[in-house]
């Protein structure tokens, strides 16, 4: 599939397309973080007692933790007491249909191009739109319910399916896992919950749109996807955020559970506000994503990271069952003063487990792009196999591309390979294209898209188109 690349000059001058603030009265908790706030969040969401206990346990543990400093990113210290940890669009009553959604909210979605009705009719994608912290509308639930798929906001799942939540919440990312995961566990506001019953192939691609809105509220999403034995699901996640001067913290947690023979494919296009040309503003994106694959199960992560001023994200696979498969495909782009420290962890526990890592990093402007990946083959992982490939493309002489692979092997039958290369766009490649009448801008765009093709191929169709465009927009003028 090809998209005509917009002219580079046009892109250079283009301001962040999705930068606008919706003026809705929000129900905001006072700034600061203490046990009372955690209790308040739990109370506001009418959660059962086990959730409150879980949150408090996470919060108490968080207090004992230190913010990690090993990542190759630099930012001013975050004052966790300055932010507000709860913000909900004010709602009078529970909503029964789309028509009852606040019209201003609806128009925001339309500006973003997620018209719910249209999505419903045309794309066949069920959208669980998360507006700041509370999910306001959910489509296609009835259709999904027919095959037994549960797809709902997290808070609803806590109320209506507490047994599933209690069983799986924290089973992949424990509340004490790391600094940001613990913070998320304590104060997470909402997110998506998805359960695919035994043997069911989810009839449509599931999707959710995240969007940060109210000023000074961190967004703490929590996603939990469970694919029961033999089930399969493809989940899409896309992000846009309004323009903001102050840095915003975003610490999400995503947990995937793929039981025996199940398949989960999780695709992300991340386009949070990256800050302006001088590196002012932008989102801090500190995300913990992890999946656990049981016997014969497969987990596949695909991500296109173009936004955020700082990205700290390592979608991982715990290959616990025999013959389980983990995949990670990533394109990370950093421009201007963006910093990304991203990669994956593949932990091979079961026999004959396999993993593939394909990571493409593009750095332009003053961007710093780091791939940090760990492949761990434990003692019982007989016949484990890993293939890793990390390529970096540098545009301009002020950016950086770094590769930090950690390979830890405890079993002699393991076969693992890691390869990485770093290069710039070759003069000869450009010359070849120009000789054939292709303008330098188009040639660069073509080469960059070609560089990322292995990853884009893994994305669902709609996302692949969006991703290619995003790449063009994000590179704004650093090329040629």
């Amino acid at each position: 599939m090809t998209t005509t690349p917009d002219s580079i000059e046009q892109l250079t001058t283009q301001e962040y397309k999705y930068g606008f603030v919706t003026d809705i009265e929000a129900d905001v908790a006072p700034p600061g973080l203490n046990e009372d706030i955690v209790r308040l969040i739990s109370h506001k969401k009418q959660e059962p007692a086990f959730m409150l206990e879980w949150r408090l346990k996470a919060f108490r543990h968080w207090l004992t933790m230190r913010e990690p400093t090993w990542a190759n990113v630099h930012y001013p210290a975050i004052d966790y007491q300055a932010a507000s940890y709860y913000s909900a669009p004010r709602q009078k009553k529970k909503l029964n249909s789309l028509d009852e959604v606040d019209p201003e909210l609806r128009s925001t979605f339309e500006k973003l191009g997620i018209s719910l009705e249209e999505q419903k009719r045309l794309s066949g994608v069920a959208v669980d739109a998360v507006f700041d912290s509370v999910s306001v509308a959910t489509t296609f639930q009835a259709e999904l319910a027919k095959v037994g798929v549960i797809f709902c906001p997290f808070s609803e799942a806590v109320r209506e399916h507490p047994e599933l939540v209690q069983k799986y919440l924290g089973s992949v990312v424990p509340s004490t896992d790391n600094f940001f995961a613990a913070l998320n566990s304590a104060v997470f506001s909402d997110g998506s919950f998805c359960y695919i019953p035994k043997g069911v192939r989810c009839p449509m691609e599931l999707s959710t749109y995240f969007r940060i809105n109210s000023a000074n509220t961190g967004q703490f999403e929590r996603t939990l996807i469970i694919a029961d034995e033999g089930a399969s699901v493809s989940y899409l996640e896309g992000c846009t955020a309004p323009m903001r001067d102050e840095n915003q913290l975003h610490a999400a947690v995503v947990e995937l559970v793929a039981l025996d023979g199940a398949t989960i494919k999780y695709s992300t296009v991340q386009n949070w506000y990256p800050g302006d040309k001088d590196g002012k503003g932008g989102i801090y994106n500190f995300v913990t994503k992890r999946g656990k694959a049981m016997t014969n199960a497969k987990i596949s992560w695909t991500q296109v990271e173009t936004g955020s001023s700082i990205t700290w994200k390592y979608p991982s696979c715990i290959l616990q069952g025999d013959n389980s498969i983990g995949e990670f495909y990533s394109v990370a782009l950093t421009n201007n003063y963006q910093q990304a420290d991203t990669g994956t962890k593949m932990i091979h526990i079961g026999k004959n487990t396999r993993s593939t890592i394909v990571s493409k990093g593009i750095s332009a402007g003053h961007g710093q792009n780091t791939y940090r990946g760990e492949v761990k083959i434990l003692k019982n992982a007989v016949g484990a196999r890993n293939y890793s490939q990390c390529d970096s493309l540098l545009m301009g002489d002020k950016c950086g591309a770094h590769t930090f692979p950690y390979i830890e092997v405890r079993n002699s039958t393991a076969q693992m390979e890691h390869e990485a290369s770093t290069s710039k766009i070759g003069e000869d490649q450009l010359f070849y294209c120009q000789q054939r009448g292709i303008s330098p801008e188009d040639a660069v765009s073509m080469i960059v898209n070609g560089f990322c093709r292995e990853v884009f191929r893994e994305l669902p169709m709609e996302f692949a188109v969006e991703a290619q465009k995003l790449l063009g927009v994000s590179l704004e003028g650093s090329v040629g």
Binding site: D397, T403, Y406, V409, E419, S421
Partner: protein, 440 residues
């Protein structure tokens, strides 16, 4: 005063030895280094650079410094007297006068081989200029410890345009009984000069060797450096090689480890002049519960430099091998060409290998790649050999030998190749052809 840590783990203050013969500048450096180590203590697993090697067992032992009165030593056949151009033997960090032989160098006026204790009190300008200027004792605690406590070592100075035939051999022997030593060497190759230096580390019993070797390759100099490590199974060895390369210099460094309870080879190379080239190669052959950690940093600070790095590991029984290599390409270091490869062969189910080939690149017009593989012997290759009438054990040994030979064959002198090969056979009894007849 000499212990690093007391048995409770609390840090004791390191006090550098008082030597009135040493100039004030050296005394100041020693004092600063001692203060630095007292402030930082031993690195822990929280330090990214020490992620895979724990120094806790080292800290639990009550180490003492040798008084330096040893007269003889068991060289375990490692002496290369007669084959090397010159040889200095150190026992527990102190120069052993009698068997040290520098006859091969006596003719050349522009070549000076001294002991560190002599050099520090002499008016040698190269010592004044380079001593403790390269290995950063502010950043590396063990370099600080060495700088503070170094008793002796070798200083080799080759003046501009001089060529040393053959190699200079430095043999360091640890004699056990909880002695720690801090050998400190300085090798300075002047402009258009050429030299070869070999460091060998052996010993028996429990001891701790913490060596630092600083190498300066001036403009157009050609330097060959080889470090051979065959420490005892109870020994601790932390050896830092700090290389400074100026314009168009060429350095080959080989880090060969064929045994040692806990060995850390730390190699830091700074390519400070355009057109400098570096070949850094290593082999580690481990068995039993041995632990070897290869930690390398190649810093491309200037454009048009070239570095080729290859480390290979063969791991048997419950041994653990680590490769942690970093290549930094600085902002203006355009046209850098760099390659970093680590290959590991696991012969036992219980062997552990950790590989961390790292690139940090800040310039765009560069060619950098790295690769790492971990695997076992290729079953198809074994089948091929067996189909030709070679029994399985022999086929395996062929393949192990071939794997190691890629590195061994590139050592610059025959005695070194012989020594490493002998170590390889002794490490892998029953795994290699020459040992076939000894198998039951």
């Amino acid at each position: 005063m000499t212990t690093i840590l007391d048995t409770t783990g609390a840090l004791q203050k390191v006090v550098p030895p008082q030597n009135d013969a040493e100039p004030q500048r050296i005394a100041t450096i020693r004092q600063q280094a001692a203060e630095r180590f007292s402030a930082t203590g031993l690195p822990t697993a929280w330090d990214e650079e020490w992620k895979y090697t724990s120094l806790a067992p080292l800290g639990r032992i009550d180490w003492r410094l040798s008084p330096g009165s040893v007269e003889t030593a068991d060289t375990q056949g490692a002496s290369m007297r007669g084959r090397a151009a010159a040889e200095l033997i150190f026992v527990d960090g102190h120069l052993l006068r009698s068997p040290s032989d520098i006859s091969g160098l006596s003719g050349a006026a522009g070549v000076r081989l001294l002991s560190l204790s002599e050099a520090l009190t002499s008016s040698e300008p190269a010592v004044e200029r380079w001593f403790a200027r390269l290995a950063d004792y502010q950043r590396h605690p063990l370099t600080a410890l060495n700088t503070a406590l170094a008793a002796d070592g070798a200083v080799l100075i080759v003046d501009d345009g001089e060529v040393v035939d053959g190699f200079v051999h430095l043999l360091f022997i640890g004699s056990g009984s909880d002695v720690m030593s801090h050998p400190r060497n300085l090798i300075v190759a002047g402009r258009n000069s050429q030299l070869s230096i070999v460091e060998t580390y052996i010993g028996s019993g429990r001891y701790f060797t913490n060596s630092v070797t600083e190498i300066v390759a001036s403009e157009n100099a050609v330097v060959s450096h080889t470090k051979l490590v065959r420490e005892s199974p109870d020994a601790f060895h932390i050896g830092t090689t700090q290389i400074h390369q100026e314009r168009s210099s060429s350095v080959r460094s080989h880090q060969m480890s064929v045994g040692g309870g806990m060995v850390r080879n730390e190699v830091n190379v700074a390519l400070m002049g355009e057109g400098a080239s570096l070949v850094l190669e290593g082999l580690f052959v481990l068995t039993g519960r041995e632990h070897v950690d290869n930690h390398t940093v190649i810093d491309h600070a200037t454009p048009h430099c070239d570095s080729q790095e290859l480390f290979k590991g063969i791991l048997d029984q419950q041994s653990r091998g680590i490769f942690d290599g970093l290549i930094i390409v600085r902002k203006d270091a355009q046209k850098t060409n760099s390659r970093q490869v680590n290959r590991n062969l696991l012969l036992s189910e219980n062997a552990i290998v950790d590989s961390k080939p790292t690139l940090e690149i800040h310039a765009d017009d560069v060619k950098c790649n790295h690769g790492s593989t971990i695997g076992q012997l290729d079953e198809e290759a074994i089948f091929y050999l067996r189909a030709r009438g070679i029994d399985e054990a022999e086929a395996r040994s062929f393949l192990v030998d071939a794997f190691a030979s890629e590195i061994i064959d590139r050592l610059p002198f025959e005695p070194l190749r012989e020594w490493v090969r002998r170590g390889l056979f002794e490490q892998m009894p029953g795994r290699l052809p020459e040992r076939r007849e000894e198998r039951p």
